[in-house]
Symmetry: C2
Subunit: 495 residues, 2 copies
């Protein structure tokens, strides 16, 4: 007889009734072969006694197991594991293995994706000041306004319909609000048919890549380029062609040269501030790029992730402005303005492309978070988003100026950099006589950290020695601290 | 001279300053070739007069355009469109075309996805009672509790860190809460390493498909099967093999037969209630399926989308319970319990698979909505989710019983069905002497509607004549109304 007494353990403190715990464990023994088909079970009275539980609990468990087909009653003989169940050879469990997590390894094949694993993050978990690669300061996020608007929306009964399945294109109110907002502020001429609401701009990059790049289709990017975008293009099956970036942005002559010899499907640009070097694409290059796209019929994937953050003059209108030819796919979002965790973005494109992107998005995650989208729509319409944007813009400008002036004053012997016209990071090049590995090694012992590794910015191995230093997420006190620590590190290493 | 007066229109009522509106429009004319390089611009005094604006506005606009590189000043001569810009031949705009949306068509190539377009939705927009295919009643969603919990979280200053970038695996608190919740209620033995938080269960299906099915890898599904899952498998590049479904669920003998002749990568099952036929996979078949998976080393993709909704007895433990061999990928979510728009789900799998899924998810949408995930974690820990679930379970059971008894009483001459043990829909087969097309046509004229088309359930053309009738989203009054309308339709057609 199977030793139930030693093998069943019931816990009155967990959130599952005793009779179901008993079921679960008996099923487990049946499935693992320890209770083979036709095994006789203890009578309910005896089992109740052994386990020190009420007999009714055992009867409920047996009833449940009978109704699920695991056990059966034979009149006048008793209760048995269902005789028609398959016979399982119990596995001998290696006592060592059982101490480790049994669910570590899959017993089937699947693809791995080494191309997505070039992460180059620094895994410093110390609670220290971090230099990121250009993140917003989440401490400034208008979170209370969001929660308040969100709650007000949920209080209105007619908003209950926001809770059921809705359009894969995104919340209608938000699409309407964006039509007005983007047409007024970015010179677009779009209707709601040109908008798909996405989960942050990353989903826009993913969707466009999946539609354009399979079958080794070629995409041109700047050298060096935003690594996650490159990863997304490779994931989609695309082939990356690199062209140089100079102080006017991506070199259009090099693009033209490539177009003459190869079929190009798309060009990826972060036209406002190139990632990572922060340079703005010049007027001349903008016009040339649009001309080339029309002539060679390629798509321009314009990732305008930090449009709102331009300090020296007004933000530069995107390539997508005045594009009536249908070449530009415009990607943006609210993660930089509001908060990284608020993953709402948009893809702006000709209607036929939007429809295909929506069709694909349907099988990825069905739709967005309608309530959050409605909240954002309301905050755009009331001007809350714009006001918040103006507020943080001023704060970030002050931080940029402070960071750059301290860098210039205290570290210009080691670094070259230009004051960025916008964005949240400075492109800082270490003089070629120094070595980032040595510097990183020393920084690790200090009270600050870099959140990304320098190799992230040199995925084509060009040895430019540049890294992005984010200034936006640090307040003025923290900026002083970071620079002071850098000074200490460099003094220690090089004097 | 370019006629600025007639071609610039400024609007004081929109959310963009006048000088930027002026910039936008001049840039537009430069980009479209109507203001070619070296064109002389009007002096600021004259242009201000023509446009009836302050001269300072024009000067600000010209300064901005100069700094962006669109125009340049030649000393003692005036202001000109930058001479080095490329020359564009202005397009003649077809006056008819300009009236339609210019952004309808892309001027580049992309892939279309006909396999994702088998939608079979009924596009009835009349505000009438709808028979859906098994949706929860969003009117019952605990939306105020969610909004309250959400707001409480946002009020705590230490929660601000939920707003910045966080783990691609999902919020840590939610993963911890799910480990306890799932281990206790579903017989799983998992740690947080086995969980990836997804956007609803659909993202779980998408991720697993993308990892397992490319290169025409074979997946076995029941005939007939949940259409969106089939679409997702084809999208991933998989090859679908169909096996029959009977009253015990998917026919495992047929799976074994296939495994003997072909390499099978995965089997997709909705074991609790097969979609669409609602049948529960029997104990015997469960054990056989697990045996086959171990023997032939395929993955079982177990989509347990409505685990919580089982009325006759306790929910049946998933295949994933007691799976220490690493064959089962378990997919679930909260869209059915809470609300369809709350798109939080989870993928449970061996650690090596979870890591790959997370790597892929990184380029799809970066991460989930951390605040909402934290909200849900709190509601699981306080027992709110379980209490809500118990509450709606009772309501849905009453609705199922009413719907089935009325169907039996009033329409059994036309339909065959079994009372489903769980879920939110009844699998209703129209007697083969009748025709769904005729019935749908008549229903369209009535005051009710079907939200999906019968063809959706017969994608292998087996002529089973079955459709899903969702009962959960209709209250008792609405159920009476729906049945009465169906009675009227059938009487009109067939008496």
């Amino acid at each position: 007889m199977f030793p139930f007494k030693n093998n069943i353990s019931l816990d009155r403190n967990i959130n599952r009734s005793l009779y179901l715990q008993l079921c679960d464990q008996i099923i487990g023994y049946i499935k693992s072969g320890k209770l083979p088909p036709s095994t006789k079970l203890l009578g309910s009275r005896k089992l109740a006694e052994d386990l020190n539980i009420h007999r009714k609990t055992v009867i409920s468990a047996y009833d449940e197991l009978i109704s699920q087909g695991w056990i059966e009653t034979v009149p006048a003989k008793g209760t048995f594991v269902t005789s028609s169940l398959p016979i399982i050879t119990p596995k001998k469990i290696d006592p060592l293995a059982s101490k480790t997590n049994l669910k570590n390894k899959s017993d089937f094949s699947f693809l791995t994706r080494p191309h997505l694993k070039r992460k180059y993050a620094n895994t410093c978990n110390k609670n220290v000041l971090k230099i990121d690669d250009g993140c917003p300061d989440h401490r400034l996020a208008p979170i209370e306004e969001i929660a308040k608007t969100y709650r007000n929306i949920t209080k209105k009964n007619y908003h209950k319909n926001l809770l059921t399945y809705s359009s894969v294109y995104g919340n209608l109110e938000l699409r309407k609000a964006l039509v007005t907002y983007l047409n007024q502020t970015r010179g677009l001429h779009i209707t709601i048919d040109n908008i798909l609401i996405t989960r942050g701009s990353q989903m826009g990059i993913y969707l466009t890549s999946q539609l354009i790049l399979p079958n080794n289709n070629r995409i041109i990017v700047g050298s060096t380029n935003y690594m996650t975008a490159d990863n997304t293009f490779i994931e989609a099956g695309g082939c990356i062609e690199q062209v140089p970036i100079d102080d006017q942005g991506i070199v259009t002559d090099a693009i033209e040269k490539l177009c003459k010899t190869k079929t190009i499907s798309a060009v990826y640009v972060t036209s406002h501030h190139h990632h990572p070097t922060t340079v703005t694409l010049s007027a001349k290059r903008r016009m040339q790029l649009l001309q080339l796209a029309q002539h060679y019929k390629f798509a321009i994937i314009e990732d305008d992730y930090d449009y709102d953050f331009h300090y020296s003059n007004a933000p530069i209108l995107p390539l997508a402005s005045n594009d009536n030819n249908g070449n530009v796919l415009y990607i943006g979002g609210f993660t930089k303005i509001i908060a990284p965790a608020m993953r709402i973005g948009y893809l702006i494109a000709p209607k036929d492309f939007i429809d295909e992107a929506a069709t694909l998005r349907r099988v990825i995650d069905r739709q967005g978070d309608t309530l959050l989208e409605q909240t954002l729509a309301q905050m755009i319409n009331t001007g809350d988003v714009q006001r918040h944007c103006n507020k943080v813009l001023k704060i970030y400008k002050t931080r940029r100026d402070l960071f750059c002036s301290l860098l210039q004053e205290k570290l210009s012997n080691f670094f070259d950099f230009e004051v960025p016209k916008g964005g949240m990071a400075i492109w800082v090049k270490l003089h070629s006589t120094y070595n980032w590995d040595v510097v990183y090694n020393e920084i690790e012992k200090s009270s600050i950290a870099f959140s990304t590794h320098w190799k992230r910015y040199d995925n084509d191995n060009s040895k430019h020695n540049g890294v992005r230093m984010g200034f936006a997420a640090l307040n003025e006190k923290e900026i002083h601290e970071v620079i002071n620590q850098l000074v200490i590190v460099f003094k220690k290493l090089y004097t």
